[in-house]
Each structure stands twice: as C-alpha cells, then as structure tokens.
C-alpha cells in the first residue's frame, strides 16, 4: 500500500546508502529521482534502476524544484554531509510540506535544529551503538 505507482521519491546523495535506497524504492514501483553532485556516483545505482538521475547540487532549491519537490511523496537526505541533508530536508518538510522526509545525520548534536519539523532522522552512530550492544551484550549508554 505504501508503494503505489507514481509516488515521487527524491533521494539526495548517491553514495552506497542513497544508491541502494533508490534502487529498492524504484523496484517497489516509486518514481525515483536521484540527485548527486558527482555524476560518477550514479555508477553505484543497481543495474535494475530505471529512475531519473540529476548531476547537480541537491542543496540548490532550483534543482529540487526541477526534480519535482512540490509534489514529492518522500524526500531522503542521504548525502554524507549533515549540512546538505539539513537544508534539503528542512526545505522539503517546512517549505514544500512533503509528507515523508528522512534525513541521515552523522552528528547527533545537529538534532536540535531539526526538532519539531516532522523530519525522521537516521543516525548511523546510534544504530552502530545499538548493534554493538546487541552483539556484545554489553550495555552502552544511549547518546
């Protein structure tokens, strides 16, 4: 039900994470647009990927508008740069009212600036801590 055809998903950042997500969402029937500054990064996309690619700065509002952010169902800030993910996700959530916004954040200290805007945050750091806890059985304090 979540993945009905023609739901537009914009993925900013085509690293391992962004590329894999774009591939999955595409296979699930979404209309996917991947944006990355580096055109070579699109090599990471799986062969089955049939969505769009834009080689440009995803933090540029003009680029996001061209990608269709105004009618997007989901936007994912998946670059390795917190600042870039921040501007993409805040624009998506606060200006264009995209219903589903996900953001990768390496520095948990940035959390405060996005609180209350309906942005779902993915912290690789916290996930690693939790996984360590699960594997080792040693309790680590949640940060």
């Amino acid at each position: 039900m979540l993945f009905q055809k023609v739901k537009l998903v914009i993925v900013v950042g085509c690293g391992r994470f962004g590329a894999a997500l774009a591939g999955c969402l595409c296979e699930n029937g979404c209309d996917v647009v991947v944006i990355d500054k580096d055109p070579e990064s699109f090599d990471m996309l799986p062969e089955s990927y049939s969505g769009y690619q834009i080689a440009a700065d995803g933090a540029d509002i003009n680029i996001l508008e061209n990608a269709g952010i105004g009618r997007a169902y989901m936007v994912i800030g998946a670059t390795g740069y917190d600042c870039t993910n921040n501007i993409v996700c805040q624009a998506a959530s606060r200006i264009y009212h995209v219903p589903n916004v996900y953001m990768r954040l390496t520095d948990p200290n940035m959390e405060k600036i996005i609180q209350g805007y309906g942005i779902q945050v993915i912290y690789p750091f916290r996930l690693s801590m939790r996984e360590f806890e699960r594997l080792s059985g040693i309790e680590v304090e949640a940060v």
Binding site: I61, D82, C83
Partner: protein, 225 residues
C-alpha cells in the same frame, strides 16, 4: 553588542575591523589555522580555530546568549546550519549569513535566518530598479522590500496630471507621502491638484508598486517594471 563571526576570509577581516572599531565584543571562529593566527595577531579578540558547523567548536567559542551570529562560509548549507544552531542551541536572536545562491535569500528567511545576504541578489535588484524608469528619481526599500518609497516626477502626459488626489484610483496599500512643487513640500489632502513637474513621494508595498506606477503614468512603457 556581543557578536560571533563564523568563517570567511577578507569579509570576516573587514567586518571584524568595523565591529571592533565600534566597540563591539567580537569572537571569531575560523577553520584556517594560519588565518586564525593572523586574526588573533591583528585584533585583541578571542579566535577559535575549527569548523563552525560543529557544535563542539561553537561550544569552545562560548557564544550562548550573544546578540548576533554572522556566518560567512562559502557553502550556503553550512551557513544555514550555523545560523540555526546559533539560534536553537545558543539562543542568539539575530542570525545573518551570506549566500551564494540568490534563491536562498528568501528560503533562509523562511527557515529562520534573520537576514541572508546575496551579492548577486542585491546587484540584480539594483539593476532592476535602475532600469525601471528614467524619471524615477529614487526607490528605496524598507524592511527588506516589504515597503517601498518611490519618488517620481509628474509628466504632462501622465493621467494623474491635473487630477485631484481623491480622484486618483490607487490600489490598496499606496499612499502619497508628500508632493514637492518647486521648493515647497506639501502633504496633500484629497482636493490637492497634481500638476506637471510635481515630485510625488509615494509609499507602497513592493507588490503594489507596479500597479501604482501604472495608475500614475498610464502604463508608460518606460515606467513598467
């Protein structure tokens, strides 16, 4: 005032100089080691070395409850993050940054930055204003363009010429501030008759300025935006 200046090279140097001259309490944050040494040598202010997008660096600068944060990094996204951290984490009320992309002027304001400055944006608006009308002596933006003062000399062929002020069908949010005839300034009432060569000083919103000019000049091609 207590002001933190984050990032920037020549801009930061110039700004710090002028802020220090005016007896402000300034803290500089810069990620260039040599540049930090230069700033610390030139000014008697605390200089923190590090990337101002990082909270631990901002913590070091001890900027809680400062009055103003100025972000001058070349990357717009970084400046946004700095300004947002300044206001959300350190309770700094005024945040100002430079932006490379003129579209970000509006965007950043909507996202909570007090003032975003773009060189391109400013040049574009000056050119736009300059090319608008030859006979437009001046237009002056107030409150970042939400209010505009326009000064305009009346020509004989304008529909407003020889009309009473109350008969002029101005759009909403337009008022004639005063009329200068020769060397005399008058704040006109409704029965004041506008004559050729009168200088009108009008206050309007940016949106109504175009419509207002049309009413005055009758859609004179030179006077269209």
């Amino acid at each position: 005032m207590k002001i933190v200046v984050a990032g920037g090279r020549a801009k930061a140097d110039f700004l710090i100089q002028s802020l220090v001259d005016k007896k402000n309490q300034v803290v500089a944050i810069n990620d260039g080691e040599m540049y930090c040494k230069y700033l610390a040598g030139k000014y008697d202010i605390p200089v923190v070395e590090g990337n101002p997008c990082k909270k631990d660096v901002l913590d070091d600068a001890d900027i809680t409850n400062f009055d103003v944060c100025v972000a001058l990094r070349p990357d717009d996204a970084e400046n946004l993050a700095i300004c947002q951290m300044a206001s959300k984490i350190y309770q700094i009320k005024k945040t100002i940054c430079t932006v490379a992309n003129p579209r970000n002027v509006e965007l950043f304001k909507e996202l909570g930055v007090t003032n975003a400055i773009s060189g391109t944006y400013m040049v574009a608006s000056v050119i736009e204003k300059a090319s608008m009308v030859d006979e437009l002596a001046k237009t002056l933006d107030l409150e970042d363009g939400s209010a505009v003062i326009t000064e305009l000399a009346v020509k004989k062929e304008y529909p407003i010429c020889d009309e009473m002020v109350m008969d002029v069908n101005f759009p909403d949010n337009v008022i004639i501030g005063c009329i200068v005839r020769g060397k005399e300034m008058t704040v006109p009432n409704g029965s004041f008759v506008v004559r050729e060569k009168d200088k009108l000083v009008l206050i309007s919103s940016l949106q109504t300025q175009k419509e207002m000019l049309k009413v005055i000049t009758g859609g004179d091609s030179h006077a269209s935006l």
